[in-house]
C-alpha cells in the first residue's frame, strides 16, 4: 500500500535513453502519488503511443497502454466507469497535440476529472526525430531538412482560450517545483492539464537542458484565477513562463451526468435495472413530438 515502485515481476530493461527526461517525470509522478497516500490499485495511468506513453510499464499501478493520440477519450471512459479512480492520461507532444489534437480540445471542454500529463520534448522521439507540433521554427530534422516553418502550437494558450479548468507548465529539470504543480493538478477537481518541458537527449539537439534553463523562468505574483492575465502569460516566449497559469473551478463532466446525479454507484458496480426495463419493454411506444 502507498508504494509506487518502478518494476513488476519479470520487468525487463527500460527502453528510454540514458539521460531522458522521462525518468525524472516518472520519479516525480511516483513520489506525488505516494505522497498523496494513493493506492496503486486505485490509480489508472492511461497512455497513448510514444516514448512518454510507455509510462504504465514503468510504474506499478493500473495502466493501459493504448493507441497513438487516444489516451484522453480512453481515460474519459475509465473515469466515467469508476469516478473513484485517480485517472491520469499521459503522453508526449506528438501523441497529444498532433494525433490526439481533437481529443485534447474536447477533453478540455468536457472537463472530466482526469489529469493530462504531456511530456513536451518538442520532437518525435519514438520515430527518431521528426518535427512535432511544438518543434520550434528553423529546427532541421531528417524529415524537415530545410527546417521547420510551421508555427508551433501553443497548448497553454489553447487551453486557456477553451476555459480549461487547470492549466500549468513544468520542467523535468526542476523536480521540486514541478512536483508541486503535479500534486495540485491531481488534487484539482476537473480536467487538469500540465505541459512538462523535457529534453530529448537523442533527437533534439536544440532544446537541451541548458536551453531550458536559459529560456524558462518560474512565474511570481501571477494570479491564476485571472483568465486574461493567464492568456497573456501563455503567449510569452523566450523565456517561457513555468507554473500554474490558470485555475477555474467548475462542474466536472461526471457531476453533470444525470445517471450520476441520481445514483453515485460507479458504473462498474451497477446491475440491470429490471423495473425500468420492464416499464419500457411493454410500453406502447411512441415519442413526444417536438
Amino acid at each position: 500500500m502507498n508504494t509506487f515502485v518502478s518494476t513488476r515481476p519479470g520487468s525487463k530493461d527500460i527502453s528510454w535513453c540514458p539521460g531522458c527526461g522521462n525518468f525524472a517525470i516518472r520519479n516525480m509522478l511516483m513520489a506525488v502519488l505516494a505522497d498523496l497516500g494513493l493506492d496503486p490499485a486505485n490509480v489508472a495511468l492511461i497512455s497513448g503511443i510514444g516514448q512518454a506513453a510507455k509510462m504504465p510499464h514503468y510504474i506499478q499501478a493500473n495502466g493501459f497502454h493504448t493507441l497513438h493520440g487516444r489516451a484522453i477519450p480512453i481515460a474519459t471512459g475509465v473515469k466515467i466507469a469508476n469516478p473513484a479512480l485517480t485517472v491520469i492520461a499521459e503522453g508526449g507532444d506528438g501523441d497529444m497535440y498532433a494525433e490526439g489534437g481533437n481529443h485534447f480540445l474536447h477533453g478540455l471542454r468536457r472537463n472530466a476529472d482526469i489529469t493530462l500529463l504531456v511530456h513536451n520534448n518538442q520532437v518525435y522521439g519514438l520515430t527518431k526525430g521528426q518535427a512535432s507540433p511544438t518543434t520550434m521554427i528553423g529546427m532541421k530534422t531528417p524529415a524537415q531538412p530545410e527546417g521547420v516553418f510551421e508555427e508551433p502550437l501553443n497548448p497553454l494558450a489553447l487551453a486557456i482560450a477553451s476555459n480549461a479548468s487547470f492549466v500549468a507548465r513544468g520542467y523535468s529539470g526542476q523536480a521540486d517545483k514541478t512536483k508541486a504543480i503535479l500534486r495540485q493538478a491531481i488534487l484539482h477537481r476537473g480536467f487538469s492539464f500540465i505541459d512538462i518541458f523535457q529534453p530529448c537527449v537523442s533527437f533534439n539537439k536544440v532544446n537541451t537542458y541548458d536551453w531550458y534553463e536559459e529560456n524558462t523562468y518560474w512565474m511570481k505574483d501571477h494570479d491564476p484565477t485571472q483568465r486574461g492575465a493567464a492568456l497573456q502569460k501563455a503567449l510569452e516566449s523566450f523565456p517561457f513562463p513555468l507554473g500554474i497559469f490558470y485555475r477555474y473551478q467548475k462542474k466536472t463532466f461526471e457531476e453533470n451526468i444525470v445517471a450520476y446525479q441520481n445514483d453515485q454507484t460507479p458504473l462498474s458496480q451497477r446491475r440491470v435495472k429490471i423495473e425500468a426495463l420492464s416499464k419500457y419493454v411493454n410500453f406502447l411506444s411512441y415519442e413526444k413530438t417536438a
Binding site: 490499485a41 495502466g63 493507441l67 477519450p73 469508476n82 445517471a259 441520481n262 458496480q269 410500453f283 406502447l284
Partner: protein
Amino acid sequence: MMDINLVIGGAAGQGLNTLETLMLPVLKEAGFHLFAAKDIMSRIRGGVNLVTIRVAGQEKSGYRQKSDVFIALSDEAFAWAENRLTLATILIGPATVLDKWREKWHKNRRYVLESKSPGAEPMPLNMVVSGLIAGFLRLDFSLLAEKNTLLFDAQGEARVAANQAALQAGYAQGKIIDGLEVERWSDAGEYSLMNGSQAVALGAVAGGCNFLSFYPMSPATGVAIYLAQRAGDFGLVVEQFEDEIAAAGASIGAWYAGARALVTTSGGGFALMEESISLAGMSETPMVLHLAQRPGPATGLPTRTMQGDLNLVLHAGHGEFPRVIFAPGTLAEAFYLTRKAFNLADKYQLPVFILTDQFFVDSYTCLPRLKADGIETTYHVVKTESDYRRYELTSSGVSPRGIPGHGNGVVIANGNEHDEFGDTTEDEQLSQRMPEKRMKKMEALAGESLAPGFGGHEEYKILLICWGSTYSTVREAVDVSGRDDLGLLHFSQLWPLPADLDSYFQKADRIIVVEENMTGQFAALLQQLFPGNRFESMLKYNGRHFYVEDIVEKLEAL
C-alpha cells in the same frame, strides 16, 4: 380483409413522421398487427418521403411493394411512388394532386382529400390524413382523441384543439370509404410495438449496458437518442463524443474499468473506429458495437438501406483476433442477441458486433412481449490478488479479467504485444503464444454459435439462405410463392458459423443466398467455408429493401 398495405407520400416537413407517431399506437390499440417502414430522402424539407403502414389481422411483417391505399400529399410523391401502385390501389389526395394524375390512373377509385372548408384556414394535412385512416378502418374516434391529447398536450390547448378539428374532418371523410375494414387480431394484447433502434437499445440495457458513446450518424443515432432520453431511468451514461474515434476509445476505457459499454454507428463511422477494434482485439478488452448499415462507399445514400458492410465487420481492424457477429432478423432477436452480446463480450473479452441496417432500425413492428425479468445477466470480472496477471496463459485462452479498484492487484492492459503481466514484449516465444491464446477462444465460441433458423418445406430442392433484416420479407415470399420445393435458412449469427451446416446444403439441388449487396458477401463467405457446395446469389442493391413481390417474382422464375 386480412391486411391492407397503406402508403403515404409527401414532402419532408409535411408531418409524416408525426402521423406515424400518432397513428401506430392508435392502430395497435385498436387491435391490429402492424408493420411500418420508411423510405426517406436525405433532406430536411421537400423531396419525397414515403411511409408504409401494413395493418393486418394476423402477424405479417413482410415489406409489400404494392399498396392497397395510396395517399399522396404532393405531386412529387405521386410520381416517386408509381411503382407502388396497381389498378386496384385506392388513390387519395388533395384535388390538385389527383387531377394531375387523373389521365394515367383514371380506372382507379379516387377520393379527394379536403383539408379546408370554404373561407376557413387550412387544417394540418397530416392530422386530416390520420383521421381519414381511422375513418376508413372504422376505428373508435375516442382512441384518436385520447392519443392526440396525450401527445400534444405539452404544446398547448390550441394545438390540441386544432388537431382535434382536423382529425374529425378527416375521420368524416374516411367513413365514406368502403371495403377497407381489416379484421382485428386476437393476439394484439400480447404484443408490443417498437422499432429496431428501440429493440437494440432495450436489449443493451437488458445486457447490463450502462455506458453508450457515439457520434451522430444516420441511421444508427436512433439507439443513442432513445437511451439518452431515458438515461436517468436506466442509470446509464450517454455521451456524444467529438468523433467516432473518441466514441470507440471511451467505450474501451469504460469496459477496461468495469462498465458495460455500447457503441452505435453506421459504416462510415465504423471505418473510423477500426483502430479501436484492433485495440480491443489485442488488449482483450470487451466491446459491443452496433452497426446500422447504409449504402456506401463514403457517404453513399445516407438515409437508405444495404447489407453491404458484412465484409467490413468481418475483417475490421488490422492483425488477427477473434470476434463475434450477430445480425438479428426480428425485433425480438435484436433484443435477445444484443443482450447476449454483452455477456459474450464480457466472458470472452473480445469485440461483439450487432449488424442491422436502416430498414431494420427505422421499421416498427409488433413483437411478442419481451421478458425483462428472469434475465440472466452474467458478469465475469474477478477480484484481483497482488500478483494478478491480466494476460495469464490459460488452456481456454480466456484469462480472468480484473478491473482497476477491485482487489489488491493492478491491471495492466496493452495494445502492444505483451507478457502475462501486460508489459510490452518482443520475446520470440510469447510473440507466438499470446496470439494463439487469443485465437484459442474461437473454439469455445464456435461451440456456442447460434444455429440458423429453418423454415419452409422439409423436403426442399432449393434452399434459400438469408441473413439479418431480410428475414420477414423472404419468409413471406416463400409462403406466397406456393412452391413446395423451397427451404429457408436464416442466419442471425454470421461469425463464427456453426460447423455442422453441410447436412442442410447437401439436401439441396440449388442454394441461393438472398442479400442486399452487389457482390454477395455472405454467399462468398459460405463458399469459402463450405467449398463442396455452390452458392448462388439473389441480390438487391439500390438502397431499398427487398419487397415481397421482388422475391416472389424471382422464385417463380426459378
